[in-house]
Symmetry: C2
Subunit: 596 residues, 2 copies
C-alpha cells in the first residue's frame, strides 16, 4: 500500500526561502499577524492528518467505491471516510481559510494551498468532499444575501454541512449556455427548481446532516444562452429560520457515475423535482457568480495533480531503491546484492526526476499564484490588488492545465518504475494515474483552459497582462545575467522569453485573419507558457539554493540537481511546441469532416 | 457502448497499394500461391468476427472480469467469452498462420498481423487468449521434440488447447536471470517442477480442455543467472501417448491479479508443486528458446496498441460529429443546430488526427515488419533472408515501444474528446486507455525495448544494420527529391535522416566513455527512430496517394491530409528529443541516491 510523507521541507523552502510569504502577508491587513512558525505548525498538523488519517483510506476507498440505496437515495461512502471526516471537523480544518465573521480562522489562501496539496496527495477522492464544499462556501460568501450567509456559512465553515456545484447536464458541460434546468418563482420569494444534473462531485453522501447544492437553472423568460442562467441555493434539507433542519427537499441522487478513478468520491446524477431553492446573486447572472468558485476550483484542480505527482514520486523512489533487477550498464553498483537497485539505471532516474521536477515546479507555481490571490483580495493599495489579480488571471489556466497534464505524465512514469507491479491495484500506482486523469477534464477541459489563456487572457488585452508578467522575468534575467553560476539557466530562460513574445505576436497576427488560429495554437501555447513560468521559478529557486549550497544541508544540492534536470530534460519540449504551434490551423483543417 | 469497424480499406491500401505484398509473397515458396482476393476475403471474414462477435463482449468483459474458484483452482471468464472462443475455433481461426504439417493453414505473418489488429481493436482482453497460445505454439514449433510437436501442436493449431508463457516470478521480471523455479529430473526422463509464477496471461480459464504452460525453471546445478535457465512444457492435464488426457497436473492458479485494465483476461499467479513437465530445447538454453516467441510477442504487443488506437479513434470521431457544444471561434458552422458539432474545433481535430496518424503510421510499420518477418523465414536466398531478419531486429523494439507509447497518448486524447463522458465507464473510452497501459510494460518494458534497440541492435554492430535500413530512406529521398509535390516531406525526412545518423554517432562516442550513456539516451533515441520510420512510411504513402488523388476516391485526399498533419504536428517532437538525448547522462546522475 502506498505511503505519503508530507513534503514539509520543500514547502518551507518555497514559502519562506523562495517567496518570503510572511513578509508579503504582513502587508495584507487580515493576515498581518501571521508568522512563519504559525504557518509551519498548521502545515505540520495538517500533514499529520493527511498522512495518518486519510492516506490509509485511499486504496480501500478506491476498491470499495460508493453505493447508492435506490429506495432512499442515500449514498454510503467507503469505510472510514465518514469517521475521517468527523475527525477533520473536530480538528477545525474546514474553517482554515474561512471568514472569521462566520467562525472561520481567516488564514490566507497560500496556507490553504499547501494544506490541500497534502490532502490531495493523501487521498484525492476523500479531499473532494471538503474541497467542493469550500467552493460552494466561496460562491455563497461572495454572492449570497445576508440571510443566506448567516443561515449557511457557519455550517459550511464548521464542516457540519457540505456544499456542491451543480452545473453539468447530460447535453452540456463546456457549453453551459445550453442548460435546461428550470426555476419557477413562488409567491414567498423562493423558487421551485426542476432539472437533471450529472457529474456532481460529492453530490450526496453520508458524512453530514445537510448538503447545500448550488444549482444553475433558468428563470421563466430568461434570455437564451449563457446570459439567461441564474444561480440557486438548494439544500438537501430545508433550513428553518432558526437554523434547524426542516423537510427533506426534492433534490435526489438518482444514480452514481461509474468512473475511471476517484471511486471514493460520490459522483452523482442529481434529479431536482420542484425542489425548493433561493436565488443567489442577481437573476441571469448565475454564470458570473459561479465563476467566483470556478477560478479557485481551477487552482484546486491543479493542486490535486500536484498532490498526486508528489505521492507517486515518493512511492516510486521507495520502490526504485528497494527493487533489485539487472546490473548498471557501467558495472555493478551493489556487488554484494543479487542485482542492483533499479535507481542506478539512468532511465529509471529520468522517470523519477520527471515527477520530482514537475512536483517542485508545480508547488512553486501554485504557492506563488495563491500568494498573488491573497494580495489581489487584501492588499490596501488597489493598484497592487489589480496587478496581482492580473497575474492570477494569467496563471490560473496554467496551474490547471499545465500541472494536470504534467501530473498525468508523471504518475504514469512513476507507475512505469514499478514495471508489471505498477499495473496491479495493490501497489496503488495505477490508482494515482486513474485519479489524475479526471483533472485534465473537469472544471473546464485543458483545451478550454488553453483558450482561456490565449484568447481571453492574452490576446483580448493585446498581450498587456502577459507582457507585465514577462517583465518580472526580464528583470530577473537582468539581475542575474552576469552571474557565472547561473548561466546554464539564464541563457535558455532569456531566449525562451524572447521566443515566447514572438510566438504570441505571431498567433495574434494570424488570429486577425482567422479566429480559429487561436484554437489551433492554444494547447501548444499554454504548454510553452507553463514551461516559461517553470523555467523562471526553477531559476529563482536555483539562486536561493546556490547561495546555500555549501551550508551542509543536502536539500540545496538536490534542488540544484532537480533544476538542472528540468532545464536539460523537460524544458526542451518547448522547441517542438513552438514548431507545432507555428504550423497553425491548416494541417488541422485540410481534411474534410466527411473523411474522418 | 463503443463500436468497431474493421479498417479494411486502409489495410488494402497498405497491403496492396503501398507494399504490393502478393508480389513479395510470390517469391516465398510457402506463400507463392496466395493472391490479393484470398487475403482480402480472409480479412473481411476475420473483420466480421471481430466486429460482430467479440466487440460486444469488450465492455461487459471489463466490468465482469474473471473469477477464481479457490477450491477447484478453476477460472471462469466473463460471460460470452467461452462461446466466442468456440466460434473462433469452429471458424478455424487459430490455424490461420500455423504450419500445415500440424493442421494449419500456413498463411503468412503479414495476413495474421492484420487479422490480429482487428481482434485487438475489438477486444484486447479476449484476444490475449488465442494470442498467448500462438506464442506458445511458436516456441514449441521451433524447439520442441518431434514427440512434443506431434502431441501438442495439432491441438494448439486447432485451438482445442491453449498455451501460456510462464516467465515472471515475484522478485524478477526484467531480470529473468534471478528466477528460482526448480526442475528435478525424474527417472523416466520427465521433470518435476516447483515454483511460483506471477502475471501469467491466460494462465487458467474455462475455454478449453487443456492448457499447455511453457515454464522457465532451473535444473539442479545449473549455472547462475540467465545461462542456467531451461524451458519446460507443463500441461494442465497430462497427455497420454495416444493424445488423450490423463491426470490433472499439479500446476494451479493460486490467485488472479487485480489489474488496471484487460480485466477480461485472466492474469494468474501460477503455483507449480512437483508438476510434471518435459524439457523443451536444450538444458540451460531456455531463455534463447523463449526469445523465439518473445520477439513475435513484442510485435503482437505493438499490434494491441495499434488496434486500440484505431478503435479509440473511430469512436472519438463518431462522438465529435454528434456532440454539439459551443460555436466555432470563426463563426457558426451548423447555424441550424443549437451548437456546432465539436469536430469544428481545431483542438478536437488535433486530438482526432493524432490518433488517426498514429494508427495509419502504426499499421504501415507493422505490416512492413511482418512482411520482412515472412521474408526472413521463407525467402529462398539466404542473403535476402538475413537482410530481412536484420530489419526485423531493428524494427521489433520500435513496433513494441513506439506504437504502445503512441497508443497510450492516442487513446487518452480520444478519451479527452468525450470530455467528462470519457471518464465514465459506459462510453468505453477509459477502458481503451487502461487496456493500452499494460502494453508499455509487458514483454519487456519500453525502456528495455529502447536498450535493446540502441545497445544490442545498433551500437553492438557498429550501426551496420541501422545504416543499411537508412540506405532505403536515402534511396527514397534521392528518387523523389526532385518531385515538387513531395518537397514538404522529402526535406524534413532527409534532414532527420542526417541528424539521426549524427545522433547515433554521438551516443556511440559517449558510450565508449561510459556505458550508462546508452541508458540515458535510449528512450529518446527509440522515439526519434520511430519518427524516422514513420516519416519514411508516410512519405511513401503520400507518393502513392498523390498519384491517385484525382481518382475521385476521397481516401487518397484523406491519406495526404493525415500525412501532412503527421509532418506538421507530430514529427516535430524529434527536435526536442534530439536535445534531451544529447544532454546525456549528467543531469540524470547529478543527484546522489540518498537525496531522492
Amino acid at each position: 500500500m502506498p505511503t505519503y510523507t508530507p513534503p514539509l521541507r520543500d514547502m518551507h523552502f518555497v514559502l519562506h526561502e523562495l517567496f518570503d510569504v510572511t513578509a508579503q502577508l504582513k502587508q495584507l491587513p487580515p493576515h498581518g499577524e501571521i508568522d512563519a512558525d504559525t504557518i509551519n505548525a498548521v502545515l505540520e498538523e495538517g500533514g499529520k492528518f493527511a498522512a495518518e488519517v486519510i492516506t490509509p483510506l485511499n486504496l480501500s476507498g478506491d476498491s470499495e467505491g460508493c453505493t447508492l440505496d435506490k429506495a432512499t437515495h442515500e449514498v454510503t461512502t467507503p469505510k472510514g471516510f465518514k469517521a475521517a471526516y468527523q475527525q477533520y471537523v473536530e480538528g477545525g480544518w474546514p474553517a482554515l481559510s474561512c471568514d472569521t465573521a462566520y467562525g472561520g480562522q481567516g488564514l490566507p489562501h497560500v496556507v490553504n494551498q499547501c494544506f490541500y496539496e497534502m490532502l490531495n496527495g493523501a487521498n484525492q477522492a476523500w479531499t473532494m468532499y471538503p474541497g467542493l464544499s469550500h467552493g460552494a462556501y466561496e460562491a455563497l460568501h461572495a454572492h449570497g444575501t445576508d440571510e443566506q450567509k448567516s443561515l449557511y456559512l457557519p455550517h459550511l465553515t464548521s464542516g457540519e454541512w457540505t456544499g456542491t456545484m451543480c452545473l453539468t447536464e447530460p447535453h452540456c458541460g463546456t457549453d453551459l449556455g445550453m442548460l435546461r434546468s428550470k426555476a419557477e418563482p413562488q409567491a414567498d420569494g423562493s423558487y421551485k427548481i426542476t432539472g437533471q444534473k450529472i457529474f456532481i462531485s460529492a453530490g450526496e453522501h453520508d458524512m453530514v446532516s445537510n448538503i447545500v447544492h448550488l444549482v444553475l437553472a433558468r428563470l421563466p423568460g430568461a434570455p437564451e444562452g449563457s446570459k439567461g442562467i441564474s444561480l440557486f441555493l438548494v439544500p438537501k434539507f430545508l433550513v428553518n429560520a432558526d437554523g434547524s433542519l426542516g423537510a427533506r427537499n426534492t433534490v435526489f441522487c438518482s444514480g452514481l457515475e461509474h468512473k475511471m478513478g476517484i471511486h471514493g468520491n460520490s459522483t452523482c446524477q442529481i434529479t431536482l423535482e420542484d425542489a425548493v431553492g433561493t436565488l443567489v446573486g442577481e437573476p441571469n447572472k448565475g454564470l458570473q457568480a459561479m465563476f467566483v468558485m470556478m477560478n479557485t476550483a481551477r487552482l484546486g484542480v491543479g493542486n490535486q495533480s500536484l498532490g498526486l505527482t508528489e505521492v507517486a514520486y515518493q512511492n516510486a523512489v521507495a520502490y526504485a531503491k528497494e527493487r533489485l533487477q539487472m546490473r548498471a550498464l557501467s558495472g555493478p553498483k551493489a556487488p554484494n546484492l543479487p542485482a542492483d537497485p533499479i535507481i542506478v539505471h539512468p532511465d529509471v532516474r529520468r522517470m523519477l526526476l520527471t515527477a520530482r521536477a514537475y512536483a517542485e515546479g508545480g508547488r512553486a507555481l501554485s504557492v506563488y499564484t495563491s500568494l498573488q490571490l491573497d494580495i489581489s483580495l487584501a492588499h490596501p493599495d488597489e493598484a497592487v490588488r489589480n496587478a496581482a489579480a492580473d497575474e492570477v488571471a494569467i496563471l490560473t489556466p496554467i496551474v490547471k492545465a499545465f500541472i494536470t497534464d504534467n501530473g498525468w505524465n508523471a504518475t504514469s512514469q512513476c507507475m512505469q518504475v514499478f514495471g508489471g507491479h505498477g499495473y496491479i491495484h495493490e501497489t496503488g500506482m495505477e490508482q494515482f494515474v486513474r485519479d489524475a486523469r479526471i483533472n485534465m477534464i473537469y472544471e473546464g477541459t485543458n483545451a478550454i483552459q488553453a483558450l482561456d489563456l490565449l484568447g481571453r487572457k492574452v490576446l483580448a488585452d493585446g498581450g498587456h497582462r502577459m507582457r507585465t508578467f514577462g517583465q518580472k522575468i526580464t528583470a530577473f534575467v537582468e539581475e542575474y545575467g552576469t552571474r557565472e553560476d547561473m548561466q546554464e539557466m539564464i541563457e535558455p530562460l532569456s531566449d525562451l522569453g524572447a521566443r515566447f513574445t514572438k510566438m504570441t505576436q505571431g498567433i495574434g497576427m494570424k488570429a486577425m485573419g482567422n479566429a480559429d488560429e487561436v484554437g489551433a495554437a492554444a494547447t501548444d501555447y499554454l504548454r510553452v507558457a507553463g514551461h516559461l513560468v517553470f523555467a523562471y521559478l526553477f531559476a529563482r529557486m536555483a539562486v536561493v539554493a546556490l547561495d546555500k549550497k555549501d551550508s551542509g544541508d543536502p536539500f540545496y544540492q538536490a534542488k540544484l540537481a532537480t533544476a538542472g534536470f528540468y532545464y536539460a530534460k523537460l524544458l526542451p519540449e518547448v522547441v517542438s511546441l513552438m514548431r507545432t504551434g507555428r504550423s497553425g490551423l491548416k494541417p488541422l483543417m485540410a481534411m474534410d469532416e466527411s473523411m474522418f
